[in-house]
């Protein structure tokens, strides 16, 4: 039998935490997105012709949303579980009658919800700058939700693994940010030299951005089905790692 109350309170208090730091949680990703818009969309975009029939400003919207989703999911989820480990309050969760699945549902669910809300806010913000038209809204929502969940899982893993605040920042800084910037948010892959095109295919973010962009404009670097497959694959790898971590009590129980 599930401990529904526990999932509810973990979720609720994680969301409350975001509410308390509203500015940091919701405003800062929106502000940085607006800045990207001003710089890339208007200043530079004005000199770039439309890409495959889509104006540059509109073209970068899906990539910008992904950029925010990935970084926010990872930082929210990693912080959410790292902090109680750091302060020691995790003792209570460990001594409570809850399963690992419930802990994940609470923490990852909250982190994913937060980034989902951020994604929607950015989408709405973008609507002020460019004319948006979403050809496949269901696919769009699907990609949005799957991305929030899988990268929140990744953040959760980082939060369990990290043993200091430096380590907590390390992976986002060294791995996620480069992957995201090289993930085709601001360009299509075929704009790159052939060698880099091949390298890009090893970057999971390319598939995300491509699939997400396809749901807007039917313009993509790789087939949308391959994109979906890659996202699901990524999510299941993260799930497996989390499951293993809990099973062995990794960094949680001595």
């Amino acid at each position: 039998m599930m401990n529904v109350q526990a999932v509810k309170v973990i979720y609720k208090y994680e969301m409350l935490r975001a509410w308390d730091t509203l500015l940091q949680s919701f405003a800062s990703p929106v502000i940085s997105t607006v800045l990207y818009f001003v710089v890339f969309g208007s200043a530079i975009g004005g000199r770039i012709e439309s890409i495959e029939g889509v104006s540059y400003g509109a073209f970068i919207v899906p990539g910008l949303i992904m950029l925010a989703l990935l970084t926010q999911s990872v930082s929210n989820a990693s912080f959410g579980i790292y902090f109680p480990r750091f302060t020691g309050t995790i003792y209570e969760t460990l001594s409570a009658p809850i399963s690992y699945i419930e802990i994940i549902l609470g923490y990852v669910g909250a982190a994913a919800s937060k980034s989902f809300i951020i994604g929607l806010i950015i989408l709405a913000t973008a609507g002020f700058f460019v004319e948006l038209n979403v050809v496949h809204p269901i696919w769009m929502m699907g990609f949005l939700i799957l991305t929030c969940i899988s990268f929140s899982l990744l953040g959760f893993i980082i939060g369990l693994w990290a043993e200091s605040f430096e380590q907590l920042q390390l992976i986002p800084l060294l791995v996620i940010t480069p992957l995201v910037f090289l993930g085709g948010s601001f360009y299509t892959i075929d704009m790159l030299p052939p060698a880099w095109q091949t390298v890009s295919l090893f970057n999971p973010v390319v598939y995300l951005v491509s699939g997400f962009r396809w749901s807007f404009y039917e313009v993509s670097d790789v087939s949308v089905h391959i994109s979906l497959l890659m996202v699901l694959l990524f999510a299941s790898i993260c799930l497996t790692i989390v499951w293993w971590m809990f099973k062995t009590g990794y960094r949680l129980k001595h």
């Binding site: 109350q5 208090y13 109680p84 020691g88 003792y91 409570a96 009658p97 001595h254």
Partner: protein, 311 residues
């Protein structure tokens, strides 16, 4: 009496190879107050942490109210409340929010009336909207107690509840413990203060270097391990103990005016009458006679400092 917690051959070896618990077995009785005594690093917190599910045991098993703590952790953990040794609290949450969180975490539906009463009992009601950050250390400890009791546990672990606590809070705490016991809650506490164990516990267990060296009723322990001493004050000092008194292995004070006789309080034959007669026959004049019984503290120090085990 039926046992509510059964610990069998429990051992814990931490990652670094340190054996914190070694083959510990004990039964905790329903409704009792058990005090666990032991020096720093003895393994008290480790034992509690295993029972509560925070630390994995290396060997052995723990049964809580008939359920295994690993296979049936949902049942066992929902019966247990834990007040940890360290003041581990989320600082930016209000008192009210944190106890609602704790209650929910343990799967209980919200019950504002119960929680209100709980905070009132702990004199925290007027602080309910304050952030934990703004509370004093003693109040934070009360919050930890409130969190542990928020889900109405049947068993309460208090890991050094009186560390850093003033006299008044300590008294409040013992009143609360007494009240809980009357409502049928089993209470296990660890402490370094032996007077505390002596005052409120029914039974006392002593842990040293990962081993449970003794566990018994407080009074039985004093009776069994305690020594009685008889001090005989003499009218006139002597320089050595007379030959005729060697049988009693007396100790002579440095001034030569006191003889101390140590005897087992529960032995059939204490030998007091014969000793007094022999003193008389040796021609010594008695000024006064005192007897004293060792406190739990003496017993404790004695146990922890002697390597041999008590059966």
């Amino acid at each position: 009496m039926n046992s509510v917690i059964s610990v069998t051959n429990l051992s814990k070896v931490y990652g670094g190879g340190h054996r914190a618990l070694n083959d510990v077995s004990l039964d905790i009785r329903a409704g009792e107050i058990l005090a666990l005594l032991g020096p720093n690093g003895a393994g008290k917190t480790t034992l509690i942490s295993i029972i509560c599910g925070i630390v994995n045991p290396t060997e052995g098993s723990v049964i809580v109210d008939g359920h295994d703590i690993i296979d049936e952790y949902r049942i066992t953990r929902s019966k247990i409340g834990l007040v940890p040794q360290e003041l581990t609290l989320s600082m930016f949450v209000s008192v009210w929010d944190t106890i609602c969180f704790s209650r929910g975490l343990f799967g209980k539906k919200p019950d504002p009336a119960y929680l209100e009463q709980l905070l009132k009992d702990l004199s925290l009601w007027d602080k309910k909207d304050n952030d934990i950050l703004t509370l004093s250390g003693g109040m934070k400890r009360r919050v930890l107690i409130a969190k542990a009791l928020s889900h109405e546990p049947e068993i309460l672990f208090l890991d050094e509840p009186t560390a850093g606590v003033d006299v008044e809070l300590r008294k409040d705490m013992w009143d609360l413990v007494e009240k809980l016991r009357q409502s049928g809650v089993t209470i296990i506490l660890t402490t370094h203060y032996i007077e505390e164990a002596e005052e409120i516990a029914d039974r006392v267990g002593v842990i040293n270097k990962g081993e449970l060296i003794v566990i018994d009723e407080k009074e039985a322990l004093k009776h069994k391990l305690g020594k009685r001493q008889m001090i005989v004050e003499l009218e006139e000092s002597i320089s050595s103990i007379p030959q005729s008194l060697t049988l009693w292995s007396l100790e002579l004070s440095s001034e030569g005016d006191q003889l101390t006789y140590t005897y087992d309080s529960h032995s059939e034959h204490t030998g007091i009458a014969e000793l007094l007669r022999a003193i008389d026959q040796a021609g010594l004049l008695l000024k006064d006679v005192n007897t004293s019984q060792s406190s739990l503290e003496d017993i404790f120090i004695n146990l922890v400092n002697t390597p041999s085990q008590v059966s």
